[in-house]
């Protein structure tokens, strides 16, 4: 049975260094994903992810367990990555709002299910690439890691209501974008 993070944290705090490797293994993908989404560079992201795990190890005794370990860890990686890219300006790709129509989730779902797994993955990838780093992180944390808006608020430093508003807008944008991508994909098929 998988033990929860607190079990391994207790072991690490009792100087069991090997227990920390379990925590690294467990969270490395998410930590790396957050870093790579913000830094947009795999090498930099990997270096940052390593540093974050070392930093987290050194600060583990200060972790008060008021939030989940993953929330605390993602906050460290988010802040470290953001401070590394503070001077950079991000541009969001414009969405094609001309095709905005009142599609229901059921209709979109039906259209998506007609596509192969590979095509679906390609569409998700294209959509996520169009988002700016902050939006991409919100989507990753909310839909991939299924973090609550409260946890996302802790990680990103945004207020909880702000997170909710952004997620609401993003949800709309994503549905529009999915529909647009499906149309494009259908056009390619019928060419």
């Amino acid at each position: 049975m998988d033990q929860d993070d607190n079990f391994y944290i207790d072991k690490v705090l009792k100087n069991d260094l090997n227990a920390y490797s379990v925590l690294v293994d467990r969270h490395k993908d998410m930590v790396y994903s957050i870093a790579v989404k913000i830094l947009k560079n795999e090498e930099d992201a990997e270096e940052l992810a390593q540093d974050v795990f070392v930093k987290a190890y050194q600060s583990l005794k200060f972790f008060k367990r008021e939030s989940k370990f993953s929330t605390w860890l993602y906050r460290i990686v988010y802040n470290s990555a953001i401070s590394k890219t503070r001077k950079k300006q991000y541009k969001t790709a414009d969405l094609d709002y001309s095709i905005v129509e009142n599609y229901s989730a059921d209709e979109i779902k039906e259209d998506v299910e007609r596509l192969s797994d590979e095509e679906q993955k390609k569409i998700v990838n294209t959509i996520l690439e169009k988002l700016n780093p902050e939006e991409s992180i919100l989507i990753t944390l909310f839909y991939f890691d299924e973090k609550t808006t409260k946890d996302i608020s802790i990680i990103t430093g945004l207020s909880q209501s702000n997170v909710k508003v952004r997620l609401h807008r993003l949800r709309k944008r994503l549905l529009i974008e999915v529909q647009s991508q499906i149309k494009k994909s259908n056009k390619e098929i019928f060419k």
């Binding site: 993908d29 990997e46 390593q50 070392v54 059921d106 839909y143 991939f144 299924e146 949800r171």
Partner: protein, 144 residues
Amino acid sequence: MINNRDKSEDFLKDFIQKLDLESPSDGFTSRVMNKIENEVAEQSLQMNIYRKLRSWYIAIFSAIAAIAYTVYYFIHSNLQFFIGDYDLMIIPVFKKLFLSFKELLPGLKVSSFTVVIILAITGLFLIDRLINRFRTRKNILFSL
């Protein structure tokens, strides 16, 4: 009853989760653990140096306090204790040194005891600087 928003939410979750999370390269965990082991080793080395230096600090402080007290005693006693055992020529040298130090700051009225304390603190400060230099050099050596 499931509303439209929940449906969208479920759909987007399932749809986005089709994509795998990015993964770091192979051996990531072992590289992190190596880094941490190195950090731990370096920290314990620094702790050892610090502990050694701490005992040095205590020894030096005790020595300076003893010297300061002896000097103070030499000047303020009527030398009754030392007359039989020590060369009397050396005692005025202490006294002259002490008085000339006091004359450096004629406007400042401080007791002899305060001067001795100031001298002791200054001595400690200089030794501390010296030890810090030694410690920094040693850290550089071990970090290579």
